[in-house]
């Protein structure tokens, strides 16, 4: 009845889990004898490793997801009390139907109506990444939530205050006990639970994935196939692997945005002037649903994005990426109207409706 599906990438975790399960089983038989009610311990969950993905980077052995940890993480993800007003939860800006982005918002608004200067990024396949946000300001998934919780323009809270609020909400001590064995609420446990929820969010069942893995389903149309071929020759050097990101930081020649003078891209984190206006290559999964696009959400459609790459790139005060220069040294990617149409048709095959409608991740 305790099911654990072994995962090749994760033998260590499995061994540990088996030990834990053996221990739990022995406890059970004990309480069975005593004829007492059985309180089940947390059950390990498997993080899906799609065969066409690179290997998981998140250290699962340090924080193995369990059913109870996942449920706590999900509750925290949708908990308004993580913000100072009690209203803005993680899910406020990360809506499932938009692949956990803020539907239609160029820049999201946070507490006190304040706005930041970046577009909300999707939450999906984070177990396969090791740096987070547009500029790499978090170098471990567990630490990432600190940024939105404490940023004045987002949730405007502090970790100590959040923990105090959780302690005073009747349901939380019990949920922490279920997940971690005692009712203690601390930052380590809160962040671990949020990570357990997030690492389970794997989007790998788009039409593209099924075609790649030769599973049952619709084949590519000829337009989509053409788009894939074009994508591979013109886009995939940066949007690499089946995560569609090489996880590097690049300046793509996007015109400087005078509305947000505090924006320096990766330079804000690294301090290097050469990193000015460099942003992390975003994954393109569910890209159809995550509009608007770019770090500041300036482009409303995929057509606008491709028009930018063909005709809109400029020098922006930083070092524009070499990959985006033509043979004659000018900026941009050669794309005609038909090619753009085909690439967009292909990009839409990355929409994963199973993920977008997965009840496990839904608020209600």
């Amino acid at each position: 009845m305790i099911k654990y599906i072994p995962n090749q990438a994760n033998l260590m975790v499995m061994k540990k889990t088996i030990l834990i399960i053996a221990f739990i089983c022995s406890l059970w038989s004990c309480s069975d004898d005593d004829n007492e009610a059985y309180i089940p311990g947390p059950m390990a969950l498997e993080v899906e490793q799609p065969s066409n993905f690179p290997e998981i980077k998140y250290a699962l052995e340090a924080n193995t997801p369990t059913d109870a940890g996942f449920e706590l993480g999900k509750k925290l993800f949708y908990e308004g009390n993580l913000s100072s007003s009690g209203i803005i939860s993680c899910g406020f800006c990360h809506e499932q139907a938009s692949a956990f982005t803020h539907h239609g918002h160029t820049i999201s608004h946070g507490e006190n109506g304040l706005e930041g200067f970046r577009n909300t990024q999707p939450i999906q396949n984070l177990a396969f990444f090791d740096e987070f946000t547009w500029d790499g300001a978090a170098i471990h998934l567990d630490l990432q939530p600190i940024i939105p919780i404490t940023a004045e323009v987002e949730m405007n809270e502090t970790i100590p205050s959040v923990l105090e609020k959780l302690e005073n909400l009747p349901e939380y001590p019990q949920l922490f006990e279920k997940a971690f064995g005692t009712t203690e609420i601390n930052s380590e446990r809160m962040l671990k639970a949020l990570s357990q929820f997030m690492v389970m969010m794997v989007s790998a069942n788009s039409k593209y994935d099924k075609v790649m893995r030769q599973e049952e389903g619709e084949p590519f149309t000829s337009l989509e196939q053409t788009g894939l071929t074009l994508f591979k020759s013109k886009c995939a050097s940066c949007h690499a692997t089946d995560l569609f990101s090489d996880q590097s930081y690049r300046n793509n020649g996007i015109p400087y945005n005078p509305k947000h003078i505090e924006e320096k891209g990766r330079q804000r984190v690294s301090g290097y002037e050469s990193d000015f206006y460099k942003f992390r290559v975003p994954s393109l999964r569910n890209i159809e649903m995550t509009f608007p696009y770019m770090h500041d959400g300036r482009f409303g459609t995929l057509e606008a994005v491709l028009n930018f790459y063909s005709d809109g790139m400029v020098e922006n005060g930083g070092e524009v990426d070499e990959q985006l220069k033509k043979a004659d040294g000018s900026l941009g990617i050669h794309l005609n109207t038909n090619e753009k149409e085909a690439i967009i048709a292909f990009l839409k095959t990355l929409t994963d409706n199973e993920f977008l409608n997965d009840k496990r991740f839904a608020e209600f």
């Binding site: 340090a62 300001a137 446990r189 984190v269 690294s270 301090g271």
Partner: protein
């Protein structure tokens, strides 16, 4: 006869048998040049004509190791080895380490800041250090990282005649730049940890080194330094050079 031989034996070697474990306190005593550092009230000379009043001094001390006279190293368990020293909080300046093997310690090593390995452990094993760091204002809100060193106050100079705020915050820059520093010092005299003896290692930190260490900083040039690929590592070097073991109380 046996008793005599044992007695003579130990008396020959003139050594006590050291067993068990005890505690040791590491005291961080902030100073400015030859004076005790006082927040807000005192004015101190900095570079050139600059005079500063300091309002905040906070830094993270971590990964403490003690080496005894035989070269054995005791490493404080990593998850219990992160501390915030805060000039405005006296308790924070006395770091008490318990369960330390009894020995005669001659050397101390510790880190200034948070090492990359700790970051890469994520939330695992950090307990409530993150909460403490945030309470102490030692976390940035725009990046998921710790401020290793915070030095703030007001300054004046010949060019800046009205009191102007300065703030130096130093930490690592994601994976791009590691500003964690390790400091190793020989103790002025041996720290004798015993089951019934708790020595105090008295370390003086001369904060004047921040602006006038290996690299000289003029507040008139840059009163605010937070993330700077050139200056942040220089601040890290200056600050890691500010410590000296004054003496050990046994």
């Amino acid at each position: 006869m046996l008793a005599i031989s044992i007695l003579s034996c130990s008396s020959d070697d003139n050594e006590e048998v050291i067993t068990g474990s005890g505690s040791i306190t590491v005291e961080f005593d902030n100073a400015y040049l030859d004076s005790d550092l006082l927040l807000n009230t005192s004015s101190y000379n900095a570079s050139g004509t600059e005079k500063i009043k300091i309002s905040k001094v906070k830094y993270i001390v971590s990964n403490i190791k003690l080496e005894d006279e035989d070269g054995h190293v005791y490493v404080v368990p990593k998850n219990e080895s992160y501390f915030i020293v805060d000039e405005s909080n006296e308790d924070s300046q006395m770091i008490e380490l318990s369960d330390v093997p009894a020995a005669n310690y001659t050397k101390i090593t510790y880190g200034l800041g948070v090492d990359q390995a700790k970051y890469l452990e994520g939330a695992d094993g950090q307990g409530d250090f993150l909460t403490k760091a945030q309470e102490a204002g030692m976390m940035w809100s725009w990046q998921a990282g710790y401020k290793f060193f915070v030095f703030e106050g007001l300054y004046t100079s010949d060019d800046t005649t009205t009191e102007t705020a300065f703030a130096y915050h130093m930490g690592s820059h994601g994976t791009a730049l590691d500003n964690y520093k390790e400091i190793s010092m020989t103790l002025a005299n041996t720290a004798r940890v015993r089951t019934d003896m708790t020595p105090i290692v008295h370390i003086v930190a001369d904060l004047s080194n921040t602006l006038m260490g290996d690299t000289e900083f003029k507040l008139d040039d840059a009163p605010q330094i937070h993330v700077d690929a050139v200056k942040s590592p220089q601040i890290a070097t200056n600050v890691s050079g500010m410590f000296m073991v004054h003496h050990v109380h046994n």
